[in-house]
């Protein structure tokens, strides 16, 4: 590693910016006193305060990775219509605040025309895909999150600008199976097909004990390769978690020839109804196919079509599948159910169907 040039600065623990300075005046006035909201149309929500004040919130889809000029473009619009205030959502959408109904449409037009951002992402549609660094910045990715998301959102554009699905659909896309993108109704993730390959030449001896220690199943042990101290992986123990790769770049878990993408479904954070739930493997083996990953787009659309046709109102993806059963899920989507779908990890037994509750 190259030596790192440093400039001495005094430690300052300044803390978080003061959000209070960034609140729209109507928010300051009605802070914690909002009464209800109403959907005006996809992307536009009317918020009514106890005292009667009304604030329209307009949501626009953003690619998250923005040039400073694009951000300045956003600011221009907010200055014009929003008294200079705006926010981003937890899914990287931009939200504009309007206190006069007659400003809504002009704002919507400028967002579309000047920024090229679609209006939508609210209610029972597909909102923005949360995603990760991919080949733009991370050291671990097996695919490019940014490009795959762009290609996928092109396919799902009409679901972003409409609210015509049974419930909200949250999608995440991550560039390695660590999955910084998190649980979601639909998650696209890289899938490794074998244990790490070891680049014995690059192995940094200093990190050996750390790498051995990090393996959760004690699959790594010291070995002499050629005349060098190195490591080896006990194949039958390793379960491809990739923790060693994060610790040591020479434990290469990625493989451009064999890595594929997987589709996961039914993750949920909300405590609604059955509560939060983990996402489950729906489909593995999708080719990692830049620049537009057409197979991923096709699979997600197949999935959404089945969901739209068969789910009931207020049924999130996982709840829909719980009701119809996984067999019908695989029938409806045409995805194959394989032995690899059956859990083999430490809580595997808790996934067995220990009842006669089966469907035709």
């Amino acid at each position: 590693m190259a030596a790192i040039e440093q400039k001495k600065m005094a430690p300052r623990d300044q803390g978080a910016p003061n959000y209070k300075e960034y609140l729209h005046p109507l928010m300051v006035k009605n802070y914690g006193k909002w009464k209800y909201h109403e959907k005006v149309k996809p992307g536009v929500i009317k918020r009514v305060a106890e005292g009667g004040d009304v604030l329209w919130v307009v949501r626009a889809g953003s690619p998250r990775t923005l040039s400073v000029d694009k951000v300045r473009g956003i600011c221009q619009i907010a200055d014009k219509f929003c008294k200079g205030f705006l926010r981003f959502t937890s899914r990287a959408n931009v939200e504009f605040f309007v206190d006069r109904l007659e400003d809504v449409e002009p704002l919507v037009r400028e967002v579309r025309d000047k920024l090229g951002f679609p209006i939508g992402g609210t209610g029972n549609g597909v909102t923005n895909i949360v995603h990760t660094q991919g080949w733009m910045h991370c050291n671990l990715p097996g695919t490019d999150a940014l490009g795959a998301v762009k290609a996928l959102m092109d396919e799902l554009y009409d679901e972003f600008t409409n609210e015509r699905l049974p419930a909200r659909v949250k999608i995440s896309l991550s560039c390695c199976s660590i999955n910084c993108g998190g649980q979601a109704d639909i998650a696209v993730n890289l899938q490794h097909h074998h244990p790490p390959k070891i680049n014995h030449n690059n192995m940094q001896i200093c990190e050996l004990p750390k790498v051995v220690a990090i393996c959760p199943v004690a699959a790594i042990r010291p070995a002499t390769v050629g005349s060098k101290n190195s490591l080896e992986v006990v194949e039958e123990k390793c379960m491809y978690c990739g923790a060693c790769h994060g610790q040591c770049p020479s434990m290469e878990i990625r493989d451009p020839d064999t890595d594929t993408l997987s589709l996961w479904v039914g993750g949920k954070s909300a405590n609604t109804r059955g509560g939060p739930s983990f996402m489950k493997l729906a489909l593995w083996g999708l080719p990692n196919n830049p620049p537009r990953w057409p197979e991923v787009g096709a699979a997600v659309k197949t999935l959404l079509r089945a969901y739209k046709d068969s789910a009931k109102e207020y049924e999130r993806m996982g709840e829909w599948i719980d009701r119809i059963g996984w067999k019908r899920f695989f029938d409806l989507t045409g995805f194959p159910f394989t032995k690899y779908h059956i859990d083999t990890y430490r809580f595997a037994r808790t996934t067995f169907n220990t009842s006669t509750q089966v469907k035709p």
């Binding site: 064999t258 009701r323 996984w326 899920f329 067995f352 006669t356």
Partner: protein, 422 residues
């Protein structure tokens, strides 16, 4: 032993003669009058009641040519209580559904009285008729007498156990297959496995006619076989109307509609509407409205595997192996025999000693097990697919049995291509 001594000899046990529930102590004290061993049994128990220590030591006693079915006990107090120095239990296979003629029962009584202590337990938790209290000699006499009358001996050790089933078609309208007949057919077909310890460990079947599982099969047997149906629940509209009129709509919503696990039953315009494709055949609506609703007509069984209790790995319940199959014709029975055979073969070859089939499945993995016994993976075997990405793809690693990979992974220790680097 005199009347006098017996009375004063068991003051603690005597407390159990009190109270409204029928007392085994009172019953056995009477029996002790003609069976001295029973008196000494009570004396030994009395001592246990005093010390909270048990005085039986177990060992193995085989009926020659049968390999099992006798639970042999020696008393640690045998010097003081010679009549119970040896005090074994014979497990006798019960008739399907615990159905009896009085003649048959009397036969058992006579054998028990003649060759054993005269104590019967009807029935053991596995389902057997338990005949308690024979010694090393009389055990064989009792066994011989039983067999001469056509009875047969149950299982113990690494063998098939006596089967048990619910009353089924004999009087229950819920029954979706012939539990009594299948129980007998399975017993007879596999009778050799019941008598000879050829399996890694015990194996139990229990059969219930419907998902109410009155035989407790799912948690207390290695292979639960449970009746079910695949077509629509039958609805008797008149009886529905009666039920709704009698109980009111709110009652129906709160006790039937909202209790459906998949929310697939509705009360629409006072009529019951069921989305049968979503129904998981849980029986609840049928149980509550049992005159109005009934299981469908396309009937068969769901077959599960792996139920047992706590020892070693904590409780396990049976889990689905065959989501649905009919079980009526001779061919159906053959398919079942064949499946059991394949399971025993694979588990038999790869199971460890004392490893129940559920433990085995857990150790080698369900997918590997399915491959081993030749069953196709079906999503109904699991609650849901895996939540973790740790898949062992076979192109590289091969399926694993007992921790050993079949195929050496070709990529291990492969060197990376050197990359351009600063």
């Amino acid at each position: 032993m005199s009347e006098q001594k017996k009375k004063s000899g068991t003051p603690l046990l005597d407390e159990l003669e009190k109270g409204p529930w029928p007392s085994f102590v009172a019953d056995l004290k009477k029996l002790a009058e003609k069976k001295p061993a029973v008196g000494q049994l009570l004396e030994q128990m009395e001592q246990s009641y005093e010390t909270r220590v048990n005085y039986w030591t177990g060992t193995v006693l085989n009926l020659d040519g049968y390999g099992g079915g006798v639970i042999a006990r020696y008393s640690d107090l045998g010097k003081k209580l010679p009549e119970v120095a040896q005090f074994h239990t014979i497990r006798v296979i019960e008739p399907s559904g615990w159905m009896y003629s009085t003649a048959a029962l009397r036969e058992l009584c006579d054998i028990s009285e003649k060759h054993s202590s005269g104590i019967l337990q009807l029935h053991g938790m596995t389902g057997d008729i338990l005949m308690l209290g024979s010694d090393n000699k009389t055990t064989f006499e009792a066994g011989e007498a039983l067999m001469q009358k056509g009875w047969d001996i149950g299982g113990s050790g690494g063998a098939l156990r006596t089967l048990a089933c619910c009353v089924g078609p004999a009087y229950c309208e819920m029954s979706c297959f012939d539990t009594l007949e299948v129980t007998k057919r399975l017993t007879d077909h596999f009778i050799s496995y019941l008598h000879r310890p050829e399996l890694p460990y015990k194996f139990k079947f229990k059969l219930s006619g419907c998902p109410n599982d009155c035989a407790n099969s799912i948690q207390r047997s290695d292979m639960p076989i449970i009746g079910t149906w695949m077509d629509d629940i039958r609805i008797d509209k008149d009886e529905v109307a009666k039920f709704v009129a009698e109980h009111g709509e709110e009652y129906v919503v709160e006790n039937v509609i909202t209790r459906c696990p998949t929310k697939c039953i509705h009360l629409r315009k006072k009529e019951i509407v069921i989305e049968n494709a979503d129904c998981v055949r849980c029986m609840h609506c049928i149980n509550v409205m049992h005159k109005a609703l009934a299981p469908g007509k396309k009937r068969g069984v769901t077959i599960l595997l792996g139920g047992k209790r706590t020892l070693k790995i904590g409780d396990t319940m049976g889990s689905v192996m065959v989501p649905f199959m009919p079980l009526e014709t001779e061919e159906d029975m053959e398919r079942l025999f064949d499946l059991v055979g394949r399971i025993w073969e694979f588990w038999g070859e790869n199971g460890m000693e004392h490893e129940r089939v559920g433990e085995f499945i857990e150790r080698v993995g369900l997918a590997t097990f399915l491959e081993g016994v030749g069953l196709e993976p079906d999503p109904r075997m699991v609650r849901h697919p895996r939540t973790n990405p740790y898949i062992k793809f076979e192109e590289y690693t091969g399926p694993q049995i007992a921790g050993e990979p079949k195929v050496a992974p070709p990529v291990l220790d492969k060197e990376n291509e050197p990359r351009e680097s600063i």
